[in-house]
């Protein structure tokens, strides 16, 4: 697991967003990276919030796993980078 740089958050920070999207507590769910296959709990993933939305990356290969963008009260969710989330 690569160390995170200053200012980068972890998956705990988006517990509310994930609860809103999935309807259940997701920070203890395990996400598997579609690029390198690394499995880790959502709470341990790298979270970037540049202002326009939320980007979640793999801690091992830095691939984008999830993207959330909120516009006009609707949250758009992209889970393309995940092999699985359970």
């Amino acid at each position: 697991m690569e160390p995170l740089e200053t200012g980068v958050l972890d998956g705990n920070a988006i517990g509310g967003l994930l609860l809103e999207v999935f309807g259940t507590e997701m920070t203890v769910a395990v996400g598997t990276c579609g690029s390198c296959g690394t499995a880790s709990q959502v709470a341990e993933l790298a979270v970037y919030q540049p202002g326009l939305g939320t980007v979640v990356r793999c801690r091992h290969c830095e691939s984008v796993l999830m993207v959330f963008v909120r516009a006009r009260g609707v949250t758009c969710v992209d889970l393309w980078g995940l092999a699985s989330l359970a």
Binding site: P3, T6, L9, D10, N12, G23, A43
Partner: protein, 246 residues
């Protein structure tokens, strides 16, 4: 269903400010009364949403400072360039209303069944969820032994200082002051490092459970020191927040 909390759904609700208490010049504890609030677990957080007159909204997550069963309270550190914390720490008064939703999180929590011994590692306001765990332990009458290593910039920046000074059975509190130390200070005066972890942490053979919370660089330094000391990663739970004091 606006304004009504549906069980199992995360909805915004209005909370009324009960009291505000200054912990340090930068940090304030705010007690909140939210009629539809479900009880939380120690270590969970709450999302706070502020709406400006022009409709602009800003949301932030804050760790819950109170133990399960106690009235909801949060402890907020003022970030000079923040959108939300300056309002919460300077403008908010008893009787004001803010929007909250939660409780949130299932990873960085301690329940009595998790046992111990516990190693709690706090950087700056990373003490907040750990304080909820300490109070929870005390309210339960738990005898799980605890060591708390708390890194602050100076003695004046130590949050909950009186509460932590008060001796708690089975709890050892070790401070490190990274920037400024009071005259005669004999404690640690540097950032948490490998040597400090080796001196303070429970031995791996004791089967400890570690919780580290603070700015990202603090948590990374602490977690890598614990792994080097032999802690299995599954026994280290971490929570990071934006850059602030340690």
């Amino acid at each position: 269903m606006a304004g009504t909390a549906v069980r199992g759904r995360l909805t915004w609700q209005t909370a009324t400010v009960g009291s505000v208490v200054d912990e340090t010049p930068q940090v304030r504890t705010i007690s909140l009364s939210a009629p539809d609030w479900a009880d939380h677990r120690a270590g969970q957080h709450v999302d706070v949403r502020l709406t400006a007159e022009d409709g602009y909204q800003a949301e932030r997550a804050y760790s819950i400072a109170s133990a399960p069963g106690e009235p909801l309270s949060i402890t907020v550190e003022r970030l000079d360039d923040g959108e939300v914390s300056p309002y919460l720490t300077e403008e908010l008064r008893a009787g004001d209303e803010i929007e909250v939703r939660g409780p949130i999180g299932g990873y960085f929590v301690w329940d009595a069944a998790d046992g111990g011994p516990l190693l709690l590692l706090a950087g700056g306001s990373g003490i907040v969820p750990l304080r909820a765990m300490l109070r929870h332990r005390e309210r339960l009458g738990s005898t799980v032994p605890v060591r708390l290593l708390y890194s602050s910039r100076s003695w004046a920046d130590v949050i909950y200082r009186d509460e932590l000074d008060r001796s708690m059975d089975g709890v050892a509190v070790v401070h490190t002051l990274t920037r400024q130390q009071p005259p005669g200070w004999t404690g640690y005066a540097r950032r948490v490092d490998q040597q400090m972890i080796a001196e303070v942490a429970w031995h791996v053979a004791d089967g400890p459970l570690a919780y580290a919370c603070g700015p990202t660089n603090f948590v990374e330094a602490v977690a890598s020191a614990l792994v080097a000391f032999g802690y299995p990663t599954r026994r280290i739970r971490t929570e990071r927040f934006g850059a602030t004091g340690q």
